[in-house]
């Protein structure tokens, strides 16, 4: 194998492939190292990919990439026992590229993206687990994998949320449980015509659901995305749920979601064809690691670059944006023939200017708000009870709407909390 290359990118997820593709296309020598035999084999997302960033890198990528469906419907559902209350939004306008969301399957998508990087000239080495960084005078000078050492001017750590490289470089101390969610997912097969009938879709239109009230009161939520011939159903639970004696084991959270009548109707007659789990960075702005040091840039989940604002989870988009910014920084460093912090710092600058860090700052209170225990249980219960009272027929005089509302509010959620949560949500989301 080559002994020295310009750049080594560790990890062929969206962040790593974006960096490798950008560099290769600009005729830079780049080695993309992935521990899986085939890129994508180790990776899990919901997943809806927002199109705008990838479109900048690979124009009209949707014509070529393995896309499942284009999301034209979003549904936020409050689940409570037998009941469900939905905020359902559909619009053909959601379909306009590149600003729309596409449901994807990571095994297919990651392979495609890594292949594009390869075609652009990147050297893809799969089945290799990078064990550590190689250092010289406080400068990262390459990687080690088993007995092999490969040198490079710059290493890009795109090794995902459990990034060993970021920790070895001292850019982050261990992850904190409150900054991390555990995502558990099942892919459930269903024929495409049933999916289209069940969700009122046509052709390759798709829907994306977010569920609240389905995590036993612990911070987290559920999701469902339609693929061409399957559904991606999952749940994200923040790790502190397991630090308390919850008695609920992780796999039981997705079974709990599946027992709601609303979900049962949706997945009826489907079979689980894959079970998976993966961590999600949910610390928001305060969960970010340091982004660079001498000879090293950190991109994507490895840096904590993801945002969950309750009604949407963005990670892949951020990963791709950071990969592109890292590549730009490296090209600039090549010109200056300097790979110390002095040139690496440009990456931080680019990220600060990008929508990624701006969004993470704007929504820096989101992790706290969407972790509110009331949002997880009291509000879903309240809104469903209220709707139930509103619509049920009891052959007794109906209470006035406002009285009914107040009765429920006072009964189920104390008014001060309602005001505080309302204000926080308005300011923070």
């Amino acid at each position: 194998m080559v002994e020295k290359v310009d750049t080594i990118v560790v990890g062929a997820g969206p962040a790593g492939s974006a960096a490798a593709y950008s560099l290769a296309r600009a005729d830079n020598q780049v080695l993309l190292v992935e521990r899986a035999k085939t890129p994508g084999e180790k990776n899990v997302s919901g997943g809806v990919l927002f199109g705008s960033v990838l479109h900048q890198l690979i124009p009209n990528f949707w014509e070529d990439a393995p896309i499942e469906r284009t999301i034209i419907n979003r549904n936020l559902v409050f689940l409570s026992g037998e009941s469900s209350f939905s905020l359902d939004f559909s619009s053909k306008k959601l379909e306009n590229p590149p600003h729309c969301g596409y449901s994807i399957i990571r095994y297919d998508f990651d392979q495609w993206f890594a292949k594009r990087a390869e075609e652009a000239g990147a050297l893809l080495a799969t089945g290799i687990r990078v064990d550590e960084l190689a250092w010289e005078n406080k400068q990262v000078v390459g990687i080690r994998a088993g007995d092999d050492e490969i040198r490079a001017n710059v290493v890009v750590a795109a090794d995902g949320i459990n990034s060993q490289l970021t920790e070895q470089a001292g850019l982050r101390k261990g992850l904190r449980t409150k900054h991390i969610g555990l995502g558990i997912k099942e892919v459930i097969d269903l024929p495409s015509d049933i999916i289209e009938n069940r969700f009122h879709l046509e052709g390759n239109e798709g829907t994306a659901h977010t569920y609240l009230g389905c995590t036993k009161g612990y911070p987290g939520g559920g999701f469902l995305y339609t693929n061409r011939e399957s559904l991606s159903l999952g749940i994200v639970v923040k790790l502190p749920a397991f630090e308390k004696a919850t008695k609920t084991k992780a796999p039981e959270f997705i079974d709990y979601l599946k027992q709601f009548p609303y979900i049962q109707r949706i997945i009826k007659d489907g079979n689980t064809i894959e079970y998976s789990a993966h961590l999600v960075p949910e610390g928001g702005y305060s969960g970010l690691s340091k982004l660079y040091t001498n000879g090293l840039l950190v991109v994507g989940d490895a840096a904590g670059l993801a945002l969950n604002i309750g009604y949407a989870l963005e990670g892949m988009n951020f990963a791709i944006a950071s990969g592109i910014a890292a590549a730009t920084t490296i090209q600039r460093a090549h010109q200056q023939r300097n790979y110390t912090k002095k040139t690496m710092k440009h990456y931080q600058r680019l990220m600060n200017q990008s929508f990624v860090i701006k969004d993470m700052k704007t929504f820096q209170n989101a992790p706290a708000i969407i972790s509110s225990p009331r949002l997880m249980k009291a509000y879903p219960d309240f809104i469903n009870n209220f709707a139930h009272q509103l619509y049920q027929s009891t052959a007794t005089p109906r209470p006035k709407l406002m009285n009914l509302l107040l009765k429920h509010v006072i009964h189920e959620i104390s008014l001060p909390y309602l005001i505080i949560d309302g204000l926080q949500a308005v300011r923070g989301l």
Partner: protein
């Protein structure tokens, strides 16, 4: 609809290495009250049998939850060696 964890893990393909990629120091576990790894592992690799923690790596889906939940440094964690471990077909 398959709902037990064995069936769910049965949907997965693995290339299992001879040696475990995760090492647990069970001496430390003896003094750990909450044992969050047992609740948190989505593949139920950690089990409590006769009050003792047991661990098997074969079903591991490489999420990293156990490493983050264990605040007693009892877990020496790594991914499996290249090409080994779980292989998702969807993800």
């Amino acid at each position: 609809m398959n709902s037990n964890i064995e069936d769910k893990l049965g949907t997965l393909r693995y290339n299992i290495d001879k040696e475990s990629h995760i090492l647990v120091n069970f001496e430390i576990c003896k003094n750990c009250k909450p044992k969050p790894c047992i609740l948190g592992c989505p593949a139920q690799c950690f089990e409590l049998i006769n009050d003792e923690v047991r661990f098997q790596y074969e079903d591991c889906i490489e999420c990293g939850t156990c490493k983050i939940l264990c605040d007693k440094d009892a877990i020496h964690w790594n991914y499996p060696r290249g090409t080994f471990g779980v292989a998702f077909r969807k993800g």
